[in-house]
């Protein structure tokens, strides 16, 4: 199903290249970005920099952002510090765990291939 969508929508959003999942630890959010295929993986690796990610989360998180590469899974793991308004247990936000934050990543536009 994803293969078909990729063929009909060769877009430049992370959404077009990868799937994501967010998790929380204290006041830190991590967002895993997992490429759908080899070509997408190379594009993400080159263009989805920590700077670009921090810019997308700038109004939500102070950072810093650390990027880890997991080539075997064709995945990038972003650790975004100071992202949860004080942490799951203290946050005044409606989504204190930041469960919805993986969707911010999907909206990031990358330069055309």
């Amino acid at each position: 199903m994803s293969e078909r969508l990729l063929q009909t929508y060769p877009g430049n959003r992370v959404y077009d290249l990868a799937h994501t999942r967010s998790g929380d630890k204290g006041n830190t959010s991590n967002v895993a970005v997992i490429a759908y295929d080899e070509v997408s993986w190379e594009r993400l690796r080159r263009h989805l920099t920590p700077e670009r990610v921090l810019a997308a989360y700038a109004h939500l998180a102070q950072g810093p952002v650390t990027r880890y590469e997991v080539p075997r899974l064709q995945a990038l793991n972003f650790v975004i510090e100071n992202a949860l308004a004080g942490g799951v247990t203290r946050s005044l936000r409606i989504d204190p765990h930041g469960k919805s934050l993986s969707a911010v990543m999907l909206s990031i536009e990358l330069p055309p291939a």
Partner: protein, 455 residues
Amino acid sequence: MRKNHSAVCRVGTGAGMADDRVYPAVKLLEQVQLDYLVCECLAERTIARENLNRRKFPEHGYNPMLAERIQAMLPLCREKGVRLVTNMGAANPVAAAHAIRAEAEAVGVRNVSCAAVIGDDVTERVRAHPDLRLLDGGEPLESLLPRMISANAYLGADLVRDALDTGAEVVVTGRVADPSLFLGTLMHHHRWSYDDLTRVAAGIMAGHLLECSVQVTGGYFADPGRKDVPRLAETPYPYAEVTSDGRVWICKPEGSGGRLDRMTCAEQTLYEIHDPSRYITPDCVVDLCEVHFEEEGVDRVAVHGALARPRTESFKTVIGYSDGFIGSGEIAYAGINAVARARLAADVVRERFRIEGGVASEIQVDLIGIGALHGDPGDGSRPEPYEVRLRVAARCPDRRSAELLGDHVRQLNMQGPMAGGGPVNTGAREVIAVNSVLIPRDWVRPEIVTVGMAA
């Protein structure tokens, strides 16, 4: 109870959070012949909350869903010889063991033997060391000490193994690291030791994939048209098959709903992970960088490549502390100029709250429909919706202020801008916040307490 320990151990998930569903646990017990069922039910702050409970009522302090889970699961566990491992003991594992026996008895399962793991509570030991550094923020613990409720160390799989070694049908713990609950069953079943690092890594990996219940079988995954999950309403709880030499398969019942494949496994592998080459657990430090998956059918994925280094010399310890109150309320606006009315309403609430003596260190205004989840970058990139729901939340030092804030939102349907609907004071809640410290292993003196074992 089945005594022979088979070469393949089947360990399933019966819950992945404190208030997780019970029904899929019963289905899993019915459909698969498991050896162990693990119910992970303890969030970071829950144990502090239950500590407060226990101080008021010494027989309490364990998971509030214990009765429901035990009554639903124990008859099947007894019938099929499945041993239950759970951290539902929270702040009072021994009381939980007695409660488990009573609840089982109530549904006709007599004389359930339990082993309770205690000793994770290191509150007094930690209190004596105000110089410990908080992992979140780096401040000394001293800054939290006056408000500290409890300190609990994340214990490892060896305690679960020891508790199972007593022969008890049910093992109930307080703070044990989530994947360690699973590894403990494997260390017991296959007689693994901490020297078998490859096997320990495999066991933690299995536990990490299983610990969040449906998050590996299609939960927290679906995006219609993009990442579809078949029969999402029927997502099953997963189980693992693990051989004595450390080969691991993650499985779901044959023909069940949900989805289990490389994509769901990859997402769960990195869930709540920071450095993938250093996933620190009480039992070992796991390197996930070579982990990969092989689909062996729609209900079965082989897991390869987890590596581990020996465990560290410290225990991560969660500190729960009182952090005042949060009050909040909501109201909705729709139609022409809805967003402006919602913003005006928020201003009115702030002003009234201040005039009437409300005290808050922080007030958060959310426009649900614009920026409540992802914030508003303020660059005009969020189009105005037809309807918007205003939410106001405040951090207050006292309960009265927190209630006052919600009341002012509630009263907006008469006292605020035109045409506000669905107002609600969502209530004042006491905040128990958490932070963590690292403590030396020898500060912890865990013990196993058996209840209802034949002499």
